[in-house]
């Protein structure tokens, strides 16, 4: 993911001058990484899409408040991570059946099969991995918001500690600590699968 900050800055400037097509360009550039973040956070396609759409709506509505030198990527991920946090808390208080969520509770369902990497060597191996993914998703779900956000931004969006610190309002040292704690927590949760992975 290497969208140019200069392009973002130019499009934000255009948007602030009333050029709505700039928002379309920003959506084309950012919806994929934002969706991936939201999906990994929520494990739900519909919710992830809904929140990503909400991020862009807020960008459109609040663009006049943004300074011209705003780091747009950081702003987008900040808004999205907060929306994900709120949505996740709301979901815990209002449990509902989710088609996507089947993968967490039923490791052998078809939706889970779709998560098996295509380079899986054998069906048995694929099943083991799918179980591992379910456990990983469950472990990720149990991580506190701060740790989960840092882990996702670090592992999947490949952001530097400084950039993650901007999004999470945290120092680089704090980001490092959170990342360590998140990984430790996942290691404990996934101890059995990590062993198996080592063996394979």
């Amino acid at each position: 993911m290497t969208p140019s900050p200069d392009n973002d800055k130019a499009d934000l400037h255009s948007l602030q001058r009333g050029d709505d097509t700039a928002l379309s360009r920003l959506m084309a550039r950012w919806q994929k990484p934002l969706f991936a973040f939201a999906w990994r956070y929520l494990h739900n396609t519909t919710d992830a899409k809904d929140l990503v759409a909400e991020v862009f709506v807020r960008l459109y509505q609040q663009n006049q408040r943004l300074a011209t030198d705003t780091r747009l990527s950081a702003w987008l991920f900040t808004i999205l991570s907060n929306l994900c946090h709120n949505h996740h808390r709301w979901r815990r208080r209002h449990p509902a059946v989710s088609l996507d969520a089947e993968s967490r509770d039923a490791p052998t369902t078809t939706s889970l099969a779709a998560s098996i990497p295509q380079d899986a060597p054998t069906p048995d191996h694929a099943l083991e991995k799918s179980e591992a993914f379910v456990a990983l998703a469950a472990g990720m779900d149990r991580l506190p918001h701060d740790l989960k956000t840092v882990l996702l931004l670090h592992h999947y969006d490949h952001l530097s500690y400084r950039e993650i610190g901007q999004i999470t309002s945290c120092s680089e040292r704090g980001v490092e600590t959170r990342l360590y704690r998140a990984r430790q927590s996942l290691r404990v949760e996934l101890a059995s699968f990590i062993k198996e992975t080592k063996q394979t």
Binding site: H158, L159, E163
Partner: protein, 240 residues
Amino acid sequence: MTPHRDNIPPAQDSLDRLLHHWEEATPAAESVEAEVWRRIAAAEAPSEAPGLLGRIRALFARPSFSIAFAAACLLLGLFLVELRNSRQQALRSAQLAQSYLRIVDPLYEPDASPNNSQIGENLDTLLAWMKSDLQLDENQLARIRSVHEQLKPRLLDLAGQVAQMQHTLAEFEKERSSENQVNFLEFASYAEKRRRLDRECNESTRRLISEASDVMSPEQRQHYLNLLHPAIKATSGGSL
């Protein structure tokens, strides 16, 4: 946003490998563009009413505007009450002026049969109104009452004659419709009597108004004649 490492780190442990494989399981992102523009349009459409309400709320949130608005409402209320009272008073004055004219002009309501006691009551009421409206002092009121009392018998007599003439006219009309003929000599005599009676009535009324006006100051007199004027104009049968 700058990647700080390659997608697959060089020194991966088991957890890193698991996290990396999970990345591949992420579903493809669907375009949210249409949904975003739909929400933006929906948010902007109903913004007119809340905007207007918001502006009104903002106006009333300012104490100076609230106080000014309340004061304006109070003044408007007082003005409307005053206007209503003024209109009622004007209406009442017009009614009293018409009643007064009925008393002083026998021709004003020729078919009414005058009644002494009724005239007396009405006269007291109307003199009280004149005293208040024209701001007459006790002396003026006494003299005006005297003028009215002095001319009252003559006016009552004339009013009686007018009523009698009306009756005679009705007899002529009855005769004309039933027998299809009229005694022209009798009718000519009636018409002559009627003209004479009308002149006497007008003379008596003018005399009463003139003598009553003489008691008044110029301002009171002007007001007195102004009060009678609408009643005279409003009545087609008015003879003044």
